[in-house]
Symmetry: C2
Subunit: 151 residues, 2 copies
């Protein structure tokens, strides 16, 4: 979308690329404890949600809603948590996380909770494929997926 | 806006009414540790952000952006945290919180962190007045403010 967009190395290291939506790159957080999508608008120099240009806001909201519904449809999650924090990584990114009363952090937030448990690679591919299908987006090119996920 | 809207008692008990924006009731969290606005869309039966009708989404986003800017202008906050969690209170409400590297929860999230420290009443009124001015909204009627804040 914009040649100056580059994913922050920390986001790149912690996630697996699901694919690109109209505005955002959708990433699967590599933490099997929680079904966790991260949306990163593919524009340079965004830090706060309020930095998003007016004409991108409804798209951002729709992509958050699509990610929420994709997670709600995956399995019996009770609640979606949406957060834009950025205290550690300043590049604007929006977390969309499926929560259940049985999950380890419930009812607290997932951010900063314990230590991520990496998926095994089959399960990671399987979950990303299910989300791609739910979000109706294409898998990224193999070179991109490989470079970005460091698997 | 809609006669069936009623603020959840927990939100009512924990906050002080700033006033009503076009869509949302703006509340000041009664926790002097963090400058913390909660926006509650005045529509009944909303739980997830994705429950918001399409034609309300840009207004919701604009109100989040306005609350973010109001906090950024209040003092030297480094970052705004936006969150819609609702694991405890299901009525849709969006947190907008000013964060700084010196604050007690930094860089973790504020939700579920320690125990709220109530403002003294002068400081609460003063901060609410500053936010009303920044958000260009009116103070609620005295009866409403009194009933809602339980001061």
């Amino acid at each position: 979308m914009n040649p100056a967009f580059a994913l922050h190395p920390r986001l790149q290291a912690d996630t697996f690329a699901i694919g690109d939506m109209a505005l955002s790159r959708a990433l699967l957080m590599n933490d099997a404890r929680f079904p966790w999508i991260i949306l990163v608008p593919r524009l340079p120099d965004l830090c706060e949600l309020s930095d998003l240009p007016d004409d991108m806001r409804s798209t951002m909201f729709d992509e958050i809603a699509s990610a929420s519904r994709a997670l709600l449809n995956l399995a019996g999650f009770e609640k979606i948590n949406v957060g834009a924090l950025g205290n550690i990584v300043r590049q604007l990114h929006v977390h969309v996380v499926g929560r259940s009363s049985g999950d380890p952090a419930w009812p607290g937030p997932v951010w900063g909770f314990g230590v991520a448990q990496a998926y095994d690679s089959n399960r990671l591919e399987e979950r990303a494929a299910a989300l791609r299908s739910a979000l109706k987006i294409e898998a990224p090119a193999i070179r991109l997926a490989s470079a970005e996920t460091r698997l």
